[in-house]
Each structure stands twice: as C-alpha cells, then as structure tokens.
Symmetry: C2
Subunit: 168 residues, 2 copies
DNA sequence: GGCGCTATCGCAACCGAATTCGATTGCTCA
DNA sequence: TGAGCAATCGAATTCGGTTGCGATAGCGCC
C-alpha cells in the first residue's frame, strides 16, 4: 500500500509512487557495492551520491554539479560524470534520455514506472500501468523476441499548463 | 489488408507494415512542399531525398552520407543534415533517437508504429498494437493531461540472435 | 536565352554533452 | 607511517550535430 501523500491511483494508473528506501540506506548500499568491487569511498563520491539521493528524481548532471558545488566547491565536472557512471554500474541509478538535450538521472526504486513529460513546463510525471506492461509482454511473444527492458514516454501538456493557458 | 510479403499479424500485433507510397510520389510531394515555402529544388537535395526514400527505414545521417557520396561525391555533411531537417519540416520524415548515439531517420508513412530494437544485432522491428495505444490514452485521461505524441521502444534479443546463441 | 536576386552549397569552425588524458593527490591497509 | 595504486582535477578531446561565410547556382522575369 502506498503511504499517504506519496502516491495515489486513478483508474488503473498509479501516479508518483515514491520508493521507501532512505538516502541513508542507499549510501550504505553504495559503500558496500564499492567495497565489493575493490573501489574506494571518497569524500567527493560521498558528497555527490548524497546530494543525488537527497535530491531524488530526474536531476541532470549540470544541476547535480551546481548542487554539489554548494557543499564542496572543489568537485570537478568529470568527477560528477564518473560518479554517476559508478552509481549506474552499482545499479543505484537509471540514466534517462528524454527528448532533447542532456541525460537525466533517477535513483533506482523498487518498482518500474514510465514517464509523462510536459512539453510546455518540462514537468515529469511518473506512472505505472500494469495493463501496458502486460501488453508489452504479449507483443514480445508475438514478435518472437526476448525483452530485457523498455522505454515508454508520453509527451503532451500537463493539467497545470492547460489551466494556465485557459485563464490567459 | 496488407499486401503479401509486406506485413503480417500475430495475435493483435501487426509487424512491419510497409507504406504504399512510392519514392516517386514522395519526391513530388517534396518538390511541392519546397515550392509552397518559397524554397528551391536543387541537385543535392534531390540526390539526398531520393537516396533516403529509396533506402527507407532507420538510416543514420552517417549511412545516408556514405550512400549519397556514391552518387554525388561533392555533397557535404552539412547539406545532409540541412536536407534532413528540411524533410522533417516538410513532414516527410521522422527523427528517432533510439538508445545510444546518433539519430535515425525514417520516411513518414500513413500509420503510427512502435519499435523493438535488438540489443545484440541492432535490428529494428516495427509493430503496431492497438491495445497499447488505447491504454496510453486511458493513462493520459487518468493523469489529466493532453497527449501530443509518445515514444515506446522495446529492447531485447531478437529471434535470430537467440538461435545464433543456442547453436554456438 | 540571359540577368540578377537570393537561397543554397561546401568547408571549416563551432557548439554542448560527455569522456579521456596526464599529472597530482590522497585513501587504505599493512 | 609510508608504499602503492585508485581517485581527482582541469584541460583537451571526442562525438553528433549546427552555423557562418564566401562562392555558387536555381528560378522568376524579361
């Protein structure tokens, strides 16, 4: 069951379900995974990872860089990217390439979800829909292929932008 | 009804339906659209557009450049990109950004479809599935948003690669 | 057909996002 | 505490794609 204020359902669509994993737990996992691979925990990596886990969803490398700079001004761009790659390899973040420009990064939660992106304000809404997931598996069977992952992105105008336009 | 050899259905999934529009018709449309917009038809544009329409699906700028060079060695990369942009503005091609690297271009057909991409051999299979399209509209209604377009890409291993692996 | 306007061409320089390189720093564990 | 090697910094490089500019060539008009 989703906790109050974290997500809700409309019809068969579940919106914005937040993962229950805390930033602390994620940091611990990060340290464990690093150790497993014979890599080091360093101040910079911790700063970057912490800012990332605290911020949460759909941050870009540039935004992350700016945030980390506030805490630790001596961190370079290259280290941001290296740490993002590391977090990806540790299965702690997803890299998303939405339509234009740079990649956005998202902490790995326990559930799969897809995205709606507002073309006017850039807002990103996460949702789950089990029926679509099922249909994708059926398509895969029909095509005779094995699925490893998928990407579904809906683009359009969100309700806020819709209302803003009407009141203009 | 799809013409034999052009597409087929499995379950509710329609695979690889080819558009019925000929390269000649597309060239004519291109010339018309250019004229409408006060732009010129040139040798280079014709060469590029013709190669693109003949080749058809999911070509990259680099591949297109190589093909055009065979016919007209004096065409530059910039002209390829400028002509691709022009074809897009004339609503004669779609630009697709699959997972990694450069964009791939596809002639506009009369039907919407989605894509499966083989992660091993890069093969791209087009398919349609009406149920998924309907579900997307339901999700949009649930989210309270208006849809302008969507992107759905399935990634995995195609049957050919599956068999190749088993016989190794 | 020839004139002239102006869009287009090809080249090279450039752009933004991301990665790599070489020299230096600083963890970590004995 | 110090050896050894991974991690860091910042600049330079890569990659896909775009743009500025002088030269060229469509196309409408006579």
């Amino acid at each position: 069951m989703p906790r109050p204020g974290e997500s809700h359902s409309v019809g068969h669509t579940v919106i914005d379900r937040k993962p229950a994993i805390s930033a602390e737990q994620r940091m611990l996992t990060f340290h464990t995974r690093l150790k497993e691979r014979g890599l080091k925990s360093t101040g910079q990596r911790d700063d970057i990872a912490r800012v990332f886990f605290d911020h949460g969803h759909h941050i870009s490398a540039e935004e992350l860089y700016a945030e980390v700079k506030k805490i630790n001004p001596h961190v370079g761009y290259a280290t941001i990217y290296r740490t993002l790659r590391l977090l990806k390899e540790c299965a702690l973040l997803y890299e998303r390439h939405f339509d234009e420009g740079q990649a956005r990064y998202e902490a790995v939660g326990e559930r799969h979800h897809d995205h709606f992106i507002c073309e006017r304000c850039g807002r990103i809404i996460e949702f789950e829909n089990a029926a679509i997931e099922r249909m994708q598996n059926i398509v895969a069977r029909d095509l005779g292929v094995t699925l490893t992952r998928h990407k579904m992105e809906l683009y359009g105008i969100c309700s806020d932008c819709h209302h803003a336009q009407q009141s203009m």
